[in-house]
Symmetry: C2
Subunit: 360 residues, 2 copies
């Protein structure tokens, strides 16, 4: 048995208001006046001086507002990289992603593609990246995906929705400032939080589980319950807790893997562009067979927070479309193996997945 | 408020038998044939082929067996560094510490002192190290101290017992193989495990606590209870859990601090050479006033495991000796501030500490 040698985030700051330290953290990392810092910022913060006034731009630094309405794509990464290369004579001093999982994944991918040749779709998979990425910093402004701590960056490519999983993917620096999550709309807060909850359930119920993943997963799950079931604490305390739940949840899948919900959600995301958090919720709602307790608690949390999930997403799909989703989902072999064991192919048939998708 | 920018361990492998991966992990880190790997190994493993046969020495690599019977000292670090410099023309490719907190702390300190001038006592304190350490790897063979994950290395110097706290202290690589802890004698297993338990209590009851430290500390404490109170799991599962408890416990004090027990234990350790784990137990046993619940549970765990602590350590000390211990303990200002708040000097008097030490 060969165990993964997991690359951790190099540095982490935690605390309400810690975002104020961003400029001090970046200053010593500036290579020269021509090597800019590129800030990729969720465009919900456009015109939000409370956040943007704390990013000081010097020399050729650039701030790009990017919409997170759609899941990040390989072509979007390639365009950003091209734009950065064309606009600057020197390679950037660093990429700083400020936003949710979409912005964090984009930033990780851009940092990698600035030092690796070809197109980002060529790197979708495991350990295909050969050259270290440039310095990259993650600042989550919504909690749940674990993108701030993971060694992957999930991208929708022309052929598949799959992460660039590599030792060079994790951030060199993460700033965990729970205050930045204060204005997340309730639906998004719930969906993204449930992304964390769901991958804890998948990790803890998986066959890959070991004591490392279990200890992180249990703590994350416990925090999710305190937040979404008990509402245990002030608004600020709940923001703090969710940021830590996301962090620990991300670490939990370091040594394990997600499962059925994520596999099916990748299919939905690939075909319909369904956002990851929402997609996971839609899928997980129908997975009693695989995760009976986890789904029961999920339904309870939905009720507590008055969340109504969209219905009938797959009601008008044709044969080819179902097949596309099923192909994408079945391709996620490590996820199925984690969920069902080595003989997963005996029970996870195309018909089974078709029947599940038809319910959604 | 300025939050710490915490440096994390760069890479971690977890799993039973993962120690077999040591040579593969080191190979790409060899700088050249003259730059050896230096293995600092607890001398309890002398003649233990089960462990040592898995360390392959090439070129000028050197394996030094070191006794952990005494707490590590600054002069021991300086001697090791001198010996390494005299024996090799090139600076080592890396230092690999294999053992408990003593060996891990020695290894971190040696790695630092190979690139920093002067004596190690000059670096006891906070952020005095200016040059990055050489590549260093930690392989814990006993769990509890958190030395595998912390940014400090506690040394007894001529003037004080204090850590080299720096951004360059943490290991570049940690191998967490719980199987390596299988032969730890019961007393030592208990004392070192209690080091973890005690710093969780100190962290969770401290004024420095935030959601980051709390989430790690709570998980670690929960694991300690599963291990030492409930005996929840097979022998192997308990080893796995204690290794994770130590890891999370170490992370918990990253953003917080230890407290009264550690401050007093440093005094004992400095004057009498009491080993850290045992010293913490002896001290904590008398701290009902500060940690009523934590001490009650500690006494219960002691009883469950039939542990009898040494008594009367301080019964024959003279005035000067008491004063020395009190001086060392009082110098740990951040620990007292964490435990008692900013006005700690109003309640923590020399007389108070004298009375506490007299009980031990």
């Amino acid at each position: 048995m060969n165990y993964k040698n997991y690359p951790m985030v190099s540095r982490v700051v935690f605390g309400r208001g810690s975002f104020n330290q961003l400029n001090d953290i970046l200053a010593p990392k500036r290579l020269n006046a021509k090597a800019p810092f590129i800030f990729l910022v969720d465009d919900v913060f456009k015109g939000n001086a409370w956040l943007t006034s704390r990013i000081s731009l010097a020399y050729d630094d650039q701030l790009l507002f990017i919409s997170a309405d759609e899941e990040p794509t390989t072509s979007q990464v390639d365009e950003l990289v091209e734009q950065i290369i064309l606009n600057h004579t020197d390679r950037p001093s660093g990429i700083i992603g400020i936003g949710g999982g979409t912005l964090l994944d984009l930033s990780k991918a851009v940092a990698i593609m600035l030092t690796n040749e070809g197109e980002s779709k060529d790197y979708q998979g495991w350990d295909l990246v050969k050259t270290p990425a440039i310095y990259h910093v993650g600042v989550p402004t919504i909690s749940g995906t674990g993108a701030e701590v993971s060694r992957t960056t999930v991208l929708t490519g022309p052929e598949k929705k799959l992460g660039i999983n590599s030792d060079y993917t994790p951030f060199d620096q993460v700033i965990l400032d729970p205050e930045l999550t204060k204005d997340v709309p309730k639906d998004q807060w719930f969906y993204t939080g449930m992304d964390c909850y769901i991958h804890c359930v998948e990790s803890l119920k998986g066959t890959y589980l070991n004591a490392f993943s279990q200890s992180y997963g249990e703590k994350s799950l416990e925090l999710c319950k305190e937040i979404f079931v008990d509402g245990d604490g002030s608004e600020e305390e709940l923001q703090d807790k969710l940021m830590m739940a996301s962090w620990h949840g991300g670490m939990s899948i370091a040594y394990s893997q997600v499962g059925v919900a994520h596999a099916l959600s990748y299919g939905l995301g690939y075909l319909l562009g369904t956002k990851h958090g929402l997609g996971n919720c839609i899928v997980f709602d129908h997975l009693e067979e695989f995760y009976p307790e986890g789904v029961a608690l999920f339904k309870r949390m939905k009720k507590i927070h008055g969340i109504i999930l969209p219905q009938g997403l797959c009601s008008k799909l044709d044969e080819d479309e179902f097949n596309t989703m099923i192909d994408v989902a079945l391709a996620m072999e490590p996820l199925w193996e984690n969920a069902m064991g080595k003989n997963w192919k005996q029970t996870i048939t195309r018909e089974k997945l078709r029947a599940l998708y038809e319910k959604m």
